[in-house]
Amino acid sequence: MIDLHWLYILAGAIFASFALSSARDRTNPKRRGNAAFWIVLTASFWFGDFLGDIGNGVLVLVLVAIAGTHLLGRGSKGSTTVEEREDCSRRLGNRLFLPALIIPFTAFAGTLAFNYTPLKASGLIDPKSVTLVLLGVGVILALAVCYAWLRPPALAPIDEGGRLADSIGWALVLPQMLASLGAVFAAAGVGTTIGAIAGAIIPEGSVFLAVLLFALGMVAFTMIMGNAFAAFPVMAAAIGVPILIQQDGGSPAVIGAVGMLAGFCGTLMTPMAANFNIVPAALLELKDQYGVIRAQIPTAIPLLIANILILYFAGFR
């Protein structure tokens, strides 16, 4: 059965190619640091399951050491120039979109085809990771089409991919790092403490204030942990279930669903949700690494107010 592990092998190969491209880039004075970073990441994807927890922990510390001591840099090795790109774009026309659309189309059509045909029962692909596996298939197809159609120099995809990866740099593994920080927070009892504090300051007798505290607690805890998944069980145990549902008789479906969505408003406002907020700033080469967060706050706050009103009016009819 094709599951995530196959994808990890593919991803490892791609990270290894970034290492190769970094190492070859003589315009980058820190090319050895970059190459080492991508090699360690490759090791994680290929051998992570055999290294043991402590081995993986050491691997994490090595990645942190490379990034934290500023051993990562960027080269200035030229790709094509803007003028060449304009020319190509005019010559190739709208067909240029096709290879880019192969990836989402494979993921989209493939997932539907898998779920609504006997393929699902065939056990070919792990049903839990169908879309991601098909994303990998789409990448391979798109690369094949690019080679056959555009006939780039053999190493061009590696160099171009490596160029993008070096521009993202350490931010590429930050989301995964934050997920492991969440695991440490949970093991050290941070959630229990926050739940106890929130539970201790709950006001008596006012349903609205309890709703407010529940929603704001979800937002604050989500902003700290970087995702609402860690916040929900804690806030549900502290306020959602004992106060809002059991004591005040709120609708469990509304409290659960909209409580989680209130947390999502927090996700829009925190650098801890790095894959959504920090990585795109790097990908788009923004000068302000918090630029995406700044663009989101004016949506997040009114939407949080809307969620609080939905919780109060729909949850307590």
């Binding site: 992570g48 399951d49 927890d53 990034a67 790109r85 171009e160 920080l181 659960g256 004016p298 729909a314």
Partner: protein, 224 residues
Amino acid sequence: MIEYWPLLGIALVVIGFALRFNPLLVVAVAAIATGLLGHMSFLKVLATLGHGFNENRYVTISYIVLPVIGILERYGLQQRARTVIAAMRGATTGRLLIVYLVFRQLVSAVGLKDVAGHAQAVRPLVAPMAVAAAEKQHGRLDPDTDERVKAMAAATDNVGVFFGEDIFFAIASILLIQGTLAGFGIVLTPFQLSVWAIPTAICAFLIHGARLLLLDRRLRRGAK
């Protein structure tokens, strides 16, 4: 007795991010400090960190698209995206991003949130298109406006996924809510929960859509 010491780790994260230290370093220091203050041994902290990192490798998978995006950019994909928008009558940044917002919400609502995203859609297509539309409305963009338009493109992707995905009942967050409540003896089906994601999805569309139209107005007003 509430144990307050582990909360110091949170303070370290906040301070570290505010002072703009390398975030990987901040996270590692905060994890080790929190674990030690929470009465874990150093090896236990290291093992927890390593285990978490290994289990969450799937978070980093989406970057396998970079070689494809890179090679297409080499042959002018961004330029093509701009040309298409420049030739389209009536295209504005706001309208374009509203269409993308609807697309992202609907596709996520049927369970396909991994179809688009920052690496595979926003950088090569959505952001250059948004900038091209803005240039049509505004003339040449100063660096601040250029940044704001690109940041809005990324923000629109996030708002679309976050407030679309929970309408799909088999998504992780809905299953987490169901599981958590079941632990308290409250039994709900995923479908009962996911319908309650719809009012928020509509509010998200109205609020973010209104902001996109305001962005259009600001771009027009600043036009030379």
